[in-house]
Symmetry: C2
Subunit: 387 residues, 2 copies
């Protein structure tokens, strides 16, 4: 199996991009990544996207984006794994290069969730859950996470503002990210007075509905130098790529407060890379909701069960903390255009590992991890990158 | 790169399966393929599907199907490339095994297009075209193909019943396939009097809206014997897997009557396999509409331009003809559950290449080709298999 490296990154700003349709937003990211890697074409495009069918009446999106980017005669496929679609696409791009089927592959993620005339974005997001056994009974995706958060607070006797630290950290970091949707810091007071959207989740616990796209260029590591000549950054190697699933419906799990698939995919990734938790310098978590950050830190082993929130409460997750997370704002502040999020996480890891993260640069960042979660923990994809 | 073989196949009957939801239909195919390969689990499931988001309010379908099949802790992702989703999933499963990331992979395709309460299947199918530049103006997917057929008849001065041979052949073969939606032969008179659905396409030119699922088990060729012990069939090797795209919108193509992506992906496949057209014993074409069969035979080089229909007219495509096509009924008679079709084609090729195709067995079938088309020729995936 060939080693795979990332030699180009691109991203669109995240926000309510009412003057750009999905193809334009994807073009912005893909063309930026292609310029970054000094390439004029590629032999494949794997595109993470969740909602184009239900919100845009547009399937066949990967070929549409390839076409709009001038990439004809190549392989193109859309990869969907709910909110983990972006990282699932990266995994497939990695296999495409590792296998020798392709030498130069573009992996992108795009989501257009706002300005979707006549469509219901909340219903679209609920399609990440079990339509027949969860959504049909009226539970929204926020609602499912609210049930988990409520249960967590009950089981571990945790106060309502225990999760504030995740949101404050994300906004502090997002303030320095020119592509973030929310570029302003918030205080504990802002968190406490934030309106509730699904008890106990308030609007500061929840990532926003938004539009955005991100893209990567992958090549065999042995050829990476050809693409990074004269570049301020070097290539970043994909040290591990692993995925695991769990039951789709939360009610089917033995323990809804333990993200079994996060543990499984993380352990697989560590075995592939020959690394341990102690080797990780920063961790891009899937902070779609603050409860997901806590559960993710616990399942991956960075925190003990019931204590994930303490890492945020005690300042361990800041840029200069023990384990920086959401370093460019995370899903909460950079934004969560669902099918693109897993690719944004990797773009930001590449920035960190190549010393180009600006004001949010984590010092001596050599090895970073990203975890992208689909549904309420049903598909979890973990990547470890090294510079 | 490791060679990859198919050691298990499974399929559900195709039809209006009103008493089975998507997960049940997929389970029928996946569990049959697992029994066929004597496996109790796998490490990945790649699932071709196009319409679950728009018709079933269900994304995250691959993890849902894996969950329902008892496959937990594995990788699962849905692969979407419109009506080429099934073959696109096979390509990705092939890369997953070839790369060494996985040893035992299930590739499946499923589509549930009937009994979708409150949803518009015709609008869903139009999402294979360009939503903003084609579908928005009212052209349906059948409509696009009707424009192509009309143009073909004009350019090549071809009579209205020139295409009848494709439909008659498909139905003759489907009559012997217990899983086919339509198991009865039709005559030229049946074709001629069939109602028009979009001039000049009549109902016998068009594949049906239906439900179905098919599945494959892939392993490294060097391990295939472990899975086929005591089996009436041997394994079938994937000799080539290639994909190419074209512009999504038909109006953007220089020549709408030439399927450039069919030619490109076919030529790539022949290079990979080290074969030529003459080596192909049978060809599963993407006969969603009879015009697509003609265009596909021409672009791949089996017929001269403007003469693809003659192969059907002159009986060359029958089971005992020069190039048998649609040997188990094709999309027309077996049915076209869109995201599953590319996998059905491969299941049927495996039957032919292992001498288990029953009454429709092609004699001395050693090497077979399948081509799966997304949109009106915008994504075309070609596989060549050998026994």
């Amino acid at each position: 199996m060939r080693s795979v490296s990332i030699v180009g990154i691109g991203q669109s700003p995240v926000g309510e991009l009412w003057n750009r349709s999905a193809r334009h937003i994807a073009y912005d990211a893909v063309s930026a990544a292609m310029r970054d890697a000094n390439i004029e074409t590629a032999s494949a495009l794997f595109l993470g996207n969740m909602l184009s069918g239900s919100l845009l009446d547009q399937e066949h999106l990967a070929t549409l984006v390839a076409d709009f980017c001038g990439l004809h005669g190549i392989e193109a496929a859309k990869i969907e794994a709910a909110c983990a679609s972006g990282a699932a696409a990266l995994r497939i791009g990695t296999m495409a290069v590792a296998s020798g089927f392709h030498d130069v592959v573009i992996v992108a993620g795009v989501e257009k969730m706002t300005d979707t005339v006549g469509k219901d974005t909340t219903a679209g997001l609920a399609s990440a859950a079990d339509a027949e056994y969860e959504a049909l009974h009226g539970v929204s995706f926020v609602g499912l996470n609210a049930l988990l958060m409520q249960r967590y607070m009950y089981e571990y006797d945790v106060p309502i503002d225990a999760f504030a630290g995740f949101s404050i950290n994300a906004h502090r970091n997002g303030a320095n990210n020119p592509n973030a949707m929310f570029q302003e810091a918030i205080s504990l007071a802002d968190y406490v007075k934030a309106p509730i959207i699904a008890t106990p989740i308030n609007i500061m616990d929840s990532s926003p509905v938004c539009d955005g796209a991100a893209a990567l260029v992958l090549v065999p590591t042995e050829r990476a130098h050809e693409f990074t000549r004269g570049h301020q950054r070097g290539a970043v190697q994909i040290l591990a790529s692993a995925s695991a699933n769990d039951t789709l419906a939360v009610h089917s799990r033995k323990d809804p407060l333990f993200l079994l698939a996060a543990q499984t995919s993380c352990q697989r990734a560590f075995r592939q890379a020959g690394l341990t938790l102690d080797d990780i310098n920063l961790f891009e978590v899937h902070d779609a909701f603050t409860i997901m950050s806590a559960l993710s830190l616990e399942a991956t082993g960075f925190a003990r069960r019931g204590e994930g929130w303490r890492m945020a409460h005690e300042g361990e997750i800041g840029i200069n903390g023990r384990l920086p997370i959401s370093t460019m704002g995370g899903l909460k502040s950079r934004g969560h255009p669902v099918g693109a999020t897993g690719v944004y996480q990797i773009v930001e890891l590449v920035q960190q590992l190549t010393g180009t993260a600006g004001a949010n640069q984590v010092r001596n960042a050599r090895i970073g991890m990203a975890q992208n979660i689909g549904g309420s923990g049903a598909t979890i994809v973990t990547h470890i990158l090294g510079s």
